[in-house]
């Protein structure tokens, strides 16, 4: 085997911060090389150096690629040499077709006139290679995130890729879409394409990676060889966080009290397609001090269920009853749902959970402004002290609560969202993908908060696509598919296989 890429002693400094400190990385031709590290460890910076986003001269060190020292001045340079990077946030134009997206900036044309037949034919071929059965003329907005990811990969293939870099490609994908994508990577490997995979999902890395390089605080900590099956998830985690994490989920002794909330015969119709029922006759409940999980694939109707309960924020023609502590409650608006003791932490914290340009303080009090105001006048001092209290209690890492939340890391942003809902004083919290896009260390802290909530006698409903997380955290797990509750498992009885089987049973 020969080396396709060697990055030698890369050091990259931003004003006041050393983002990369003497990092070396060696990638063999034809392997899948995983890059692991917490958010902010420097993985993405390293890949930006490699792909020319940070041009030659803005960093120290050498890039040896395909037999020579490279001096990339921009992305175009690296793409010309076959290095293609697919970012975490997809860079597709939603209202253009698949074919147009694949050849965007690289059109098959003569004198500026696009050759459409050739474009469509070539798109068809590329889609075949990535196993996507869609019409090349379909608009990207009309296909799911999983398929969009495949379009990105097809786009990379159109540029004669030699080294494919994927930055958390499965972060927003469901288990089965993720599996397909990983299979595709293995297929590419068989065809001789080298891949660098950045991911937080250790089981995936273990499945496909040949070698793993772990980065922590801007330094390359270790490179592990996966052949021989000696590398365990614990080995990776240990190097990532720099300490032993014997338990990925904090210990907890459940003290389950009486029934707190019950949702009965809940049915929701799609807001645009009245003939489609998104949630069908769902019955769920949660007790005080209990953590209840809802497992399922994307599109199973979990978020739709949660949002329709929370002030009818989703759907039309909603039928069913919600009772809290045996009393029937009105949840027809978000305001009333909050007043009834409900809180909903959205799966998309940037889009729907936070006002990014506002301070931590402003965000924390937003759902309960009345709690820091008198006759509609806000007491700024009281507000600040509330923010300070949660900053300490929840461990939000920031120099000041006046800091805008846009400047915080994903984990700290999520802590702000949780603080907001804790300050609203709910009885029942619905957490929708509470640890998505968060690094291992911060995940542990979020889990600890959830356990604390349960210990305080709150009811927690946790929606998650990571089955191991549900198994590690919950007392009871509902399995949902196609808008229906397919079954219910006690924690000590549940396993990934059982959940998957429940999802798949007709």
């Amino acid at each position: 085997m020969d080396t396709i890429l060697e990055m030698r002693s890369i050091t990259k400094t931003f004003p006041g911060v050393k983002a990369l400190d003497d990092v070396s990385l060696k990638v063999e031709r034809g392997e899948i090389h995983a890059l692991c590290g917490e958010n902010g460890a420097g993985k993405s910076t390293l890949m930006k150096v490699l792909s020319g986003v940070y041009p030659i001269g803005t960093y120290e060190g050498d890039i040896l690629y395909d037999g020579g020292v490279q001096q990339f001045k921009n992305i175009r340079d690296s793409e010309d040499r076959g290095i293609i990077i697919i970012h975490q946030e997809l860079a597709l134009v939603p209202l253009l077709s698949i074919a147009e997206n694949i050849f965007l900036g690289n059109e098959i044309s003569e004198n500026g006139v696009i050759n459409w037949p050739a474009t469509f034919a070539r798109t068809g071929e590329l889609l075949g290679k990535v196993g996507l059965r869609e019409n090349p003329a379909t608009l990207v907005t009309n296909i799911g995130v999983g398929k969009q990811q495949l379009v990105e990969i097809a786009k990379a293939l159109s540029k004669k890729v030699k080294l494919l870099i994927l930055d958390e490609p499965t972060a927003s994908l469901q288990e089965n879409d993720s599996q397909k994508l990983l299979d595709l990577l293995l297929e590419f490997k068989a065809q001789g394409i080298t891949s660098i995979l950045i991911s937080h999902k250790l089981n995936e890395i273990n499945r496909v990676a040949d070698r793993i390089t772990i980065i922590r605080d801007g330094k390359a900590i270790s490179t592990l060889d996966c052949h021989g099956g000696k590398v365990t998830e614990d080995d990776i985690v240990k190097d990532m966080v720099g300490r032993d994490m014997a338990h990925r989920y904090p210990e907890r002794t459940p003290k389950i009290g009486s029934k707190l909330m019950e949702v009965r015969n809940w049915t929701v119709t799609h807001p645009l397609h009245p003939e489609r029922q998104v949630v069908k006759n769902v019955n769920i409940n949660v007790a005080a001090g209990e953590v209840v999980g809802i497992a399922g694939l994307m599109g199973a109707g979990r978020t739709e269920l949660a949002m329709s309960i929370f002030g009818k924020s989703y759907g039309a023609d909603i039928k069913g009853d919600v009772t809290i502590k045996g009393q029937s409650v009105d949840v027809s608006t978000v305001e009333k749902a909050i007043a009834s003791g409900l809180a909903y932490v959205t799966e998309d914290r940037k889009e729907m959970g936070l006002v990014l340009d506002e301070s931590i303080t402003t965000n924390i009090t937003l759902a309960n402004l009345g709690g820091v105001a008198e006759h509609g006048v806000i007491n700024e001092g009281a507000e600040r002290s509330v923010a300070e209290e949660y900053r300490q209690k929840i461990n939000i890492r920031t120099p000041s609560v006046g800091q805008k939340v846009v400047n915080l890391s994903g984990g700290n942003q999520q802590k702000v969202v949780l603080s907001k809902w804790l300050f609203a004083g709910p009885e029942v919290l619905i957490l929708d993908e509470p640890t998505r896009g968060i690094d291992v260390g911060a995940k542990y802290e979020i889990y600890t908060i959830i356990n604390q909530l349960a210990a305080d006698g709150k009811g927690v409903i946790m929606i998650s696509s990571e089955m191991s997380e549900l198994l590690g955290m919950c007392d009871r797990i509902y399995v949902m598919n196609e808008g229906e509750i397919k079954g219910e498992l006690a924690a000590n009885d549940a396993s990934q296989e059982k959940i998957m089987r429940m999802i798949l049973k007709a």
């Binding site: 006041g16 924020s313 990014l356 001092g381 009281a382």
Partner: protein
């Protein structure tokens, strides 16, 4: 994230550069024209005129700020100014209705106009640009129809007084010569009250947490503001005293500054503009808020219409033409963001004053209306470029 202390003066200055920059810009522009006009700029009579000329823009800028912070825009305000002025003229001059009835009726009509437009924007989610563009055409047309294409006037003195009147001198005769002592005393009182209120606010904050604003800044800010208020009231007092419309403006600025800075209502409007989905999922009635910002804008446009008609002492079909552009420009010069969620009342007021001072100054030194437009356009662009540059740097 930087490790700088958040309490340092430098940090505070950097994070608030836009707010102080605006005031500095206003002072520089004032000084610039003071020199160019050989001191005419700050003559009491010109200063009085400056306030009278810009009162209606400032009144509307306050309302427009809320609309823009909420993430929308209102293009109809110029036409509403014309329409309400016409309505007042028809009611008073042609129908002989008393002024005390006409004014509240006109304000309510303005609020209803705003409410109707707000209804379509808030509850039907029709883009405000389109709804208010339609409103602009509709009310321009209705103004013409109402006036029958001709000017209607003049108004009785009681109506004109709203715009061209001055605060009476209750202490007349205490001092010899032409000096409005009551106005001066009022100015002095405000100069004392503002820092006292500020100190109380700080004390209240300090009870819970560290005060963000460094003391040096607090003192400097109030010293400058106090000196400016005293200076302006002194100059105005040597002429005819404080204009009535200045009092109206000051009250509006005070009320809306309080609402935006210190009330849950104001906070919710910022949240709505910053991230509507997040605001909604936090239990905020975003539709009603949007609706209210437009109704409020309509009422303030009506007030501006009354002030403008009273100032001209007649209602003309051309009244209010292109006012919306000046108002919107003032708000953006004042640091508001097109995408919503950002902007301060005082910024919009300073923005309107910058525009007003430039209009006034350029007119005095004889710059033609053609080049005035060019320069104002460039100032607007420069202010927004400055914003974007600052944001990218941060």
């Amino acid at each position: 994230m930087t490790e700088h202390s958040t309490k340092s003066v430098g940090y505070y200055l950097r994070t608030h550069v836009r707010e102080y920059g605006m005031v500095v810009a206003l002072v520089v522009i004032l000084g610039f024209f003071q020199v160019l006009t050989d001191g005419v700029m700050l003559k009491p009579v010109n200063l009085t005129n400056l306030f009278l000329q810009n009162s209606y823009i400032i009144i509307m800028a306050v309302g427009m700020l809320l609309v823009i912070v909420g993430g929308h825009i209102d293009l109809s305000v110029g036409s509403v100014v014309g329409f309400v002025g016409a309505l007042a003229a028809v009611m008073i001059v042609q129908w002989d209705m008393p002024v005390v009835v006409t004014i509240p009726v006109c304000l309510v009509v303005g609020a209803i106009i705003g409410a109707i437009q707000g209804y379509w924007v808030a509850y039907w989610r029709i883009p405000a640009f389109i709804v208010t563009l339609a409103g602009m055409l509709v009310f321009k047309g209705l103004t013409l129809a109402l006036l029958g294409g001709a000017s209607v006037g003049p108004f009785p003195d009681s109506f004109q007084g709203m715009s061209s009147g001055f605060l009476p001198d209750f202490f007349a005769g205490v001092i010899e010569g032409r000096f409005n002592l009551f106005s001066m005393v009022l100015g002095l009182a405000i100069t004392i009250i503002l820092p006292v209120l500020g100190l109380r606010q700080r004390a209240k904050q300090a009870k819970f947490a560290d005060v963000e604003e460094p003391m040096v800044f607090f003192i400097a800010k109030h010293a400058v503001a106090g000196a400016a208020i005293l200076f302006v009231t002194y100059l105005l007092s040597t002429y005819r005293g404080l204009p009535n419309v200045l009092i109206i403006m000051a009250l509006l600025i005070a009320i809306f500054t309080f609402v935006t800075n210190s009330t849950t209502l104001g906070r919710r409007i910022y949240a709505l503009g910053g991230n509507e989905k997040a605001a909604k999922l936090s239990g905020i009635n975003t539709k009603r808020l949007t609706f209210l910002t437009f109704a409020n804008m309509g009422m303030l446009a009506a007030l501006a219409g009354l002030v403008f008609a009273a100032r001209l002492n007649t209602a003309t079909p051309k009244a209010g033409l292109a006012f919306e552009l000046d108002v919107i420009a003032a708000v953006f010069i004042g640091g508001a963001s097109m995408s919503g969620g950002v902007g301060k009342v005082i910024g919009a007021v300073v923005g309107a004053l910058i525009m007003g001072v430039m209009n006034n100054g350029m007119s005095i030194i004889g710059v033609g209306i053609d080049w005035q437009q060019v320069i104002k356009g460039l100032v607007l662009l420069a202010a927004v470029i400055f914003d974007v540059y600052n944001k990218n740097k941060a």
